[in-house]
């Protein structure tokens, strides 16, 4: 299998009339992680969506080798079914094993997703992400709504992923503890 790789060259993004950033570039090889930092509205989420290929950049290219897994503010879990069945839908598509026990979701598998708290739903989304088995992880505000214990679990999950040769891009305004995490302040690329 070709080693995972994620690189951006000369990226620019426009939302509405406003250009959010220009000339953004980075390259990540296996095992590397990057935290995109910046204040609200500086384009963190837009950058994540551009990297995922869900949004067209105004200029520049994204080079991806490997499948992409994404967690953003929408968990992509059915609200009306128990968490276990909601995750099972993605397991059937992806063929992986979501680390439910690791994320402390064992006793929540029978609870319908709509009764879960924001943090529990986020942990469910992280389980879906990890179960996908994709080498490129894009995380948009992964720590939102998580308590301190779950923050540690999330950081450990990403650390394990990178140690196994995966790549992670984390967009967060909160500190994210990860050995060797590089930082990409979006303010530097504001026009």
């Amino acid at each position: 299998m070709e080693p995972a790789h994620l690189a951006a060259t000369d990226l620019a993004c426009r939302r509405g009339e406003r250009v959010l950033f220009t000339g953004l570039a980075f390259a990540l090889s296996p095992g590397e992680a990057l935290q995109v930092t910046g204040r609200n509205g500086t384009g963190k989420s837009s950058l994540i969506r551009i990297l995922a290929g869900l949004l067209r950049p105004l200029a520049g290219d994204v080079e991806r080798h490997g499948a992409i897994a994404l967690v953003d503010e929408r968990p992509a879990l059915d609200g009306d079914v128990p968490l276990g069945r909601a995750l099972a839908f993605w397991t059937r598509l992806d063929g992986g094993h979501p680390p439910v026990g690791y994320l402390g979701l064992d006793e929540l598998l029978d609870v319908p997703v709509r009764y879960l708290s924001t943090g529990q739903r986020k942990r469910g989304a992280l389980a879906r992400l990890a179960g996908q088995g994709a080498p490129l992880w894009l995380l948009d505000e992964p720590l939102n709504g998580l308590d301190s214990e779950a923050v540690g679990l999330c950081e450990a999950l990403v650390a394990e992923h990178c140690a196994a040769g995966g790549i992670a891009v984390i967009a967060s305004h909160q500190p994210f503890a990860l050995p060797g995490l590089r930082s990409l302040p979006l303010a530097e690329f504001a026009p």
Partner: protein
């Protein structure tokens, strides 16, 4: 292919009457309510009911097709399902084609079943009932396709559900003209034309709705 089968299973669980997304029985009840109310409104004139009843069923079916529009695509887009499918390389067109099948299964056959008691309420003759059933069989896939296209186009709009209903009516007129028209001519030509329009709409729907969903993502 297995991915699409998995998605179809989820769609069916969501959409069929008694399914998780709820309210799937509503179009059928609405359809029956129209058939029940019509005799009250025009009076117990059996000849008049038998002559106009088939057309009323067609109008009821068309309006019933509007009811499920707002829950067809909107919640999956809001919850990020379409983004996740796109990341897995599953095209919007394929997802929408599967959704079209599930949507038709959830409202076409139930309406055809409901047409049996409705025909009894209106005192339709056996031949008229047969023409209505064949017409619905030919026309409901087209109604489902129009509904899906409109649901995709109005998905990001406030008040999209109300607008969707208004948009659907003019687009469904050809189906109504030929489908209900077959009742007065009694021939199969009208039903064949209805089926032809339906096929065309079913062929267009995945591409039109898929493009609309991608467009909504860029917005």
């Amino acid at each position: 292919m297995t991915a699409l089968a998995t998605i179809l299973r989820r769609d069916l669980a969501l959409l069929i009457p008694g399914g998780r997304r709820g309210g799937a029985l509503l179009p059928v009840l609405f359809f029956l309510a129209v058939a029940m109310l019509y005799p009250f409104a025009v009076g117990p004139n059996a000849a008049l009911l038998a002559r106009t009843g088939g057309g009323v069923l067609w109008v009821a079916a068309l309006l019933a097709a509007i009811l499920p529009l707002d829950r067809l695509l909107a919640s999956d887009l809001e919850r990020g399902f379409f983004d996740q499918w796109a990341l897995r390389g599953i095209a919007e067109e394929a997802v929408v084609a599967v959704r079209l099948l599930a949507h038709w299964v959830s409202f076409g056959p139930p309406l055809m079943l409901a047409a049996l008691p409705a025909a009894a309420l209106l005192g339709l003759s056996g031949a008229t009932l047969r023409t209505v059933e064949l017409g619905l069989l030919a026309g409901t896939p087209g109604l489902a396709a129009i509904g899906l296209i409109i649901a995709a186009l109005t998905v990001g709009l406030r008040g999209g559900a109300a607008l969707g209903g208004l948009l659907m009516i003019p687009l469904a007129v050809p189906l109504l003209v030929f489908g209900a028209g077959a009742l007065s001519t009694g021939g199969t030509a009208g039903i064949a034309l209805t089926a032809a329009i339906s096929l065309l709409l079913v062929a267009i729907a995945p591409f039109a709705a898929g493009a609309a969903i991608r467009g909504a993502r860029e917005g």
